[in-house]
């Protein structure tokens, strides 16, 4: 009789552990997916801010056509980019173009003093940072998730239900690495 109870208890513990582990893995995987979509949200935020910025600058420095056009082209290229690699390249070009644009403001004190311009500058700085932090969060979540599915005994549950390792967000060429914090 006692043996029966012991066996039942052991089975109960195993089943409970199983459920807890499974739920934990699901939660971590969803967190990764959330983090990934957050990157896109922040990228979109930047694309939406840029036309506004260009219009403001045009008002004060309309003959700096080259720089302005470069920004617009870079933005459109980034919107149209397909795949992580292409997008990362386009993003990099856009950051460079924006940097030139903000450097412009040094020669145009009226532009620099413009409240709208200052506000947009802060918003774009923040957006660059947010993109960086969103990627960082995605990589952190991925690291946690990948570790969780490889540890014992989680790996058994992971194997049974097809939990796969996720790729980190990485930029292939060293020239494209940007620090997460950008100050124009």
């Amino acid at each position: 009789m006692v043996v029966l109870w012991v066996v039942l208890a052991v089975v109960a513990v195993l089943v409970l552990s199983f459920i807890v582990i499974y739920n934990g893995l699901v939660q971590k995987r969803i967190r990764c997916q959330e983090a990934w979509s957050q990157i896109d949200v922040q990228l979109k935020r930047r694309y939406d801010l840029i036309p506004n910025l260009v219009e403001t600058v045009k008002g004060y420095a309309s003959h700096e056509k080259e720089t302005l056009e470069r920004v617009i082209q870079a933005r459109n290229a980034a919107v149209a980019a397909d795949g992580v690699q292409q997008q990362a390249e386009a993003e990099n070009m856009l950051t460079g173009a924006l940097r030139q644009l903000f450097a412009l403001s040094e020669s145009y004190p009226n532009l620099k003093a413009n409240e709208n311009f200052a506000r947009l500058q802060e918003e774009l700085t923040s957006t660059e940072n947010r993109i960086g932090f969103a990627r960082q969060h995605y990589n952190d979540s991925t690291a946690i998730y990948n570790t969780a599915i490889q540890k014992f005994p989680n790996n058994m549950v992971a194997g049974m239900f097809g939990f796969q390792s996720r790729d980190f967000f990485e930029i292939e060429e060293p020239a494209q690495r940007e620090a997460p914090q950008v100050q124009f």
């Binding site: 967190r31 923040s126 969060h137 979540s141 914090q181």
Partner: protein, 312 residues
């Protein structure tokens, strides 16, 4: 200082915290039992009842303070809530950190004081509040501001508010218990009970236990406070490491702490009760004078050193 990553530092601090809390719980239960034993003239059942009552009181107090909310603290500190339009840069800095942490954006308050300080409160990330003084807000660069805010957000992330509440209540109840016990002996309560229930236990053994109980009742509150403060310092180091984990920029927070350290002004609205929640001890003279074991915050130079030695 050996070079370490914030991952290992965070793991080590968490282990240390659990150890300290465990020791504290032992102390609490042990004292409760001992005192109950003496009062009950050797009856273990009574001892457990006393420990149980003390534990229940502590539990209720913890629940009350935990759910009481941050509003009392905020009105105490002359704080005003900020919306994004009031200070876009501050809002952006905090929202960026919330992204990095994967947490909701906390409510933001501005404290009308020229001294340089900041604090966080709120029982979990969903109900978090961060506050910063006007003085600090104006004197820090964007990176430094982000370092400080990341430190405060880390306190919320690590549930430090919960720890602080737990510890404060446990220490309070323990001190009260020991105090009541010592007074009861002074008024001869124990001996009356002993003669009524005289058992065949040797009078000598009981006397020894009584002496030990008295000694411990005097020492326990001091020991409890030391443990409480050690725990508080651990959590500060942990929050510093947490800040680096979020920003990946040790220099930001280190520079901010150095700036704060150079500032000699005393925060008018803070007092000893609210001191542990601030990023640095708000009463400067106290920090300079206090010996290491009795301080809620580690010395700033030490913190700066540790932060800069972290590799990201």
């Amino acid at each position: 200082m050996p070079v370490e990553t914030f991952h290992t530092l965070i793991a080590r601090n968490k282990r240390n915290s659990f150890l300290l809390i465990f020791v504290f719980l032992l102390l609490f239960v042990g004292m409760g039992l001992l005192i109950g034993y003496v009062w009950g003239a050797g009856e273990m059942a009574f001892a457990w009842i006393v420990a149980g009552i003390a534990g229940t009181i502590a539990f209720i107090l913890i629940l009350l303070s935990y759910f009481g909310g941050p509003s009392a603290l905020l009105s105490l500190s002359r704080a005003r809530e900020l919306k994004k339009e009031d200070d876009p840069q501050l809002y952006n800095v905090i929202e960026e950190l919330s992204l990095a942490a994967g947490q909701p954006v906390p409510r933001i308050y501005l404290i009308n004081d020229t001294a340089m300080n900041a604090f966080a409160t709120g029982r979990n990330p969903k109900h978090a509040v961060v506050a910063i003084t006007v003085g600090l807000r104006q004197k820090l660069s964007r990176d430094e501001l982000q370092g400080v805010m990341a430190h405060e957000l880390s306190h919320v992330r690590h549930y430090d508010i919960l720890y602080a509440t737990l510890m404060a209540v446990m220490v309070g109840v323990l001190v009260m218990l020991c105090d009541v016990f010592l007074r009861s002996l002074w008024f001869g309560g124990g001996s009356r009970r002993r003669s009524r229930r005289s058992k065949s236990k040797g009078g000598g053994a009981e006397a020894i236990i009584l002496v030990i109980a008295i000694l411990l009742a005097i020492l326990a509150p001091i020991l409890a406070r030391i443990i409480h403060l050690a725990l508080s310092r651990q959590r500060e180091y942990l929050a510093d490491a947490g800040s680096v984990e979020l920003t990946r920029n040790p220099e930001g927070l280190a520079a901010a702490l150095a700036k704060i350290n150079g500032d000699t002004e005393v925060l008018e609205v803070a007092n000893r009760a609210t001191a542990p929640l601030y990023i640095v001890h708000p009463i400067k003279k106290f920090e300079a004078r206090a010996k290491k074991i009795f301080s809620t915050h580690p010395p700033i130079q030490d913190r700066i050193q540790r932060i800069l030695s972290l590799t990201v």
